[in-house]
Symmetry: C3
Subunit: 347 residues, 3 copies
Amino acid sequence: MDFLSDFLLRFVSQLQSPTLGFLIGGIVVASLGSRLSIPDPVYKFIVFMLLMKVGLTGGQGIRSSNLAEILLPAMFAVIMGILIVFIGRYTLCNLPKVKTEDGIATAGLFGAVSGSTLAAALTLLETQKITYEPWAAALYPFMDIPALVTAIVLASIYTKKQRDISNEYPSKQSSNADTKVKIWPIIQESLQGSALSALLLGLALGLITRPESVYESFYSPLFRGLLSVLMLIMGMEAAARLKELRQVAQWYAVYAFIAPLLHGFIAFGFGMIAHYLTNFSYGGVVILAVIAASSSDISGPPTLRAGIPSANPSAYIGASTAIGTPVAIALGIPLYIGLAQALMGGG
Amino acid sequence: MDFLSDFLLRFVSQLQSPTLGFLIGGIVVASLGSRLSIPDPVYKFIVFMLLMKVGLTGGQGIRSSNLAEILLPAMFAVIMGILIVFIGRYTLCNLPKVKTEDGIATAGLFGAVSGSTLAAALTLLETQKITYEPWAAALYPFMDIPALVTAIVLASIYTKKQRDISNEYPSKQSSNADTKVKIWPIIQESLQGSALSALLLGLALGLITRPESVYESFYSPLFRGLLSVLMLIMGMEAAARLKELRQVAQWYAVYAFIAPLLHGFIAFGFGMIAHYLTNFSYGGVVILAVIAASSSDISGPPTLRAGIPSANPSAYIGASTAIGTPVAIALGIPLYIGLAQALMGGG
Amino acid sequence: MDFLSDFLLRFVSQLQSPTLGFLIGGIVVASLGSRLSIPDPVYKFIVFMLLMKVGLTGGQGIRSSNLAEILLPAMFAVIMGILIVFIGRYTLCNLPKVKTEDGIATAGLFGAVSGSTLAAALTLLETQKITYEPWAAALYPFMDIPALVTAIVLASIYTKKQRDISNEYPSKQSSNADTKVKIWPIIQESLQGSALSALLLGLALGLITRPESVYESFYSPLFRGLLSVLMLIMGMEAAARLKELRQVAQWYAVYAFIAPLLHGFIAFGFGMIAHYLTNFSYGGVVILAVIAASSSDISGPPTLRAGIPSANPSAYIGASTAIGTPVAIALGIPLYIGLAQALMGGG
């Protein structure tokens, strides 16, 4: 009882944080038909600033870290990335009116990671004074890339099977071309995406150069404020995408609501294993859960569009942006933080 | 004598403030043909930042305010909004070469409120250490919306009369459609405009969430700097619009110069009534005067374009941007502040 | 020996500064094919912010300066601007496969000044705690304008000669129109460019108004951070332009590598003369060297495109952006600072 009431209290108190307030404000304002908008170039720059800051923090932190510690959490991140896609493949894809390619692409996007959701989690962890490993943000690519690769590979296998069934004598040319999915180009495509590039560049600069002067005068103090603007944009975007989502099967909405919370809880479990085995911090466990709960909004969609051209972007982007991301941020983050705090108090 | 010299001294000293300096700098630079420009997305973002900050300040302040106090100033704001349009309707519209619809639209724009002018006034009040009610910025919509509604209603009545005169047997269809002007859609249109949306969202977030962390690290410290950039843009825009203004009747220029100062003084009078009756602060009186003196530059024009389609935008936007706004900021604000200071000293 | 080892040590330590780190990071990231990009409106705004800050600093500093001191350095700046173009005219233009107009335009761009390179130098000087005259940044136009004017004049003379040779009986009309190059329009064109306008506006505002409140809350604290973003952009731009540069004669690359360093050393020499004659500070000597080493990236190209329409922009912009600027920033600045420090230590 004590555990539950403690957890609920902490959960509710976080809803007043500006991070969540701006997200919900954005949803409300856009739903009321406001013409308020943040110009796209500003949006892109804000995302760059946030991921560069997350990267710089990580890079500076890694300098004094024991890198062996990252092994187990990174392995769990890879497993989660693959597992999420398989879960989607065998649940969402089997639901009525869901096209298999669309379902796989959606699962891929939910396996991939959102830099904005990660930034929101880091801010809320700091507000709650929960420490985490400086390299925890570096888990991002370990989950993001495997998820996208798995989705594209599964979609290619499915497409090939379909073709073989419909055509008993496939022309040599097309069958040859499609026989194997090339994995390296998908990885490269992911790494070259703007979000991962910014994060990795920040990591490298934090590790190699001495960025303290710009970090402390610029990237760090502006972080929370820029995040509040980004949350507003994401809220407005969620409201705008909801209409799109209504045009595809309703099961996407159900999946998009349940999946982030489920993925987060599974990852939280993996994180707790790492906590007991290698003393992975509670803050790190929350971060692992949050990146599993998050679904990609910036770099994922173009990679999937190129990798699974037959899938309908309205289905997967709508599900992720309109429901998945708000659920991951406004429900998931407070949930995992509350859970961690309750466990910390109890332990 | 003492009163006048004191007033003049204070007036002149304010011309060195960066807020006015950047405005005048923008006018000079653009007049000299410079290619310097601030990109439009940056301009829109700056406006958002300023109005969000004004809203957040207001929202946080309202929490500990006695809301009954706002009643009288808000009522005066509504009266001013309507009064300004009627003044324009019976002066500007009767001048030679001024088309009635153009005149009404211009009066509507001068009755509507400019967020940038309001932001400039708040900054100068703080520089001069004059306190004001935290909810004073919330007077904005109480003047803005009535002015736009009145202008559109007056224009519709005029257009309908013209049609009835020119056509003694109006077809049933058209007369039915135009019989009544729908007021609610105009109010909705105003509230959905980007400026008012940002201000009201800020108010709501300031009231409901705990935005202190982002307010103090982001919105508040960047306010003055962003305002200086906005003033520069408005100065450059004023110089650019001056050419447009030359193509319409010169009376627009005369109106655009006199009207802001006149409106401000009338509102200052109303504010002083509230000062004596309900102890409305001198800072609040200045704010009431400034929003009356200001003319809308962001949200007003699209509403008027939709509501009075027959009016010529060059006339009303030119008059407001090229003359009205610079006069309100560079003459109006120092004037009302100087007057308040002289009265404070004298009282 | 001591002098050399001291110099080398200081040189290497500067490569870890974030200013150079972001520049090199940008080159690496873009070379790896990343899709990371900073939107153009943000880039333009950053340049405005930096030059406004440089101008405001200068303007505030000039107030308490003895302006007679600026005479000799300003004269040297003018000489350098003209000299650089003549050096290019009689070296680069005579190399195989280099079209004379292209060579002159390239020399003009290398004589003109880059605001970003200047901003980088000011930051590194401050990091190294080397003082400089507050008006030193105001040397910018004294080198920039003479270089562009000289290049356009030389190109016009060359074009005219070519036409006279190919056509012994020139039609009166065309020869009349081209007889004299009008110098005033070139100067005006330069002054109206966005970079010089921002710098001069900042100087004027710093001199006339009291910008301390916005300077200390906005322009100054954001300077280093914005510069880091600009360096990143310039690095990415350099990598992108390298391809373009490969399509023109290789001699451009050789010139673009050697010229900045050579120009900087000549200007350093002039600066040392001013140091001994009028006590020009070591920091000022470095600034004079850096603006000589820099090549224009914002305002130069459009002026040259208008002034020497027959020249190929790929040649001059490629040489400047892909090689000239990175060399000036990553090699030139640390070199001149290291040299100044070694001389300061020795003196």
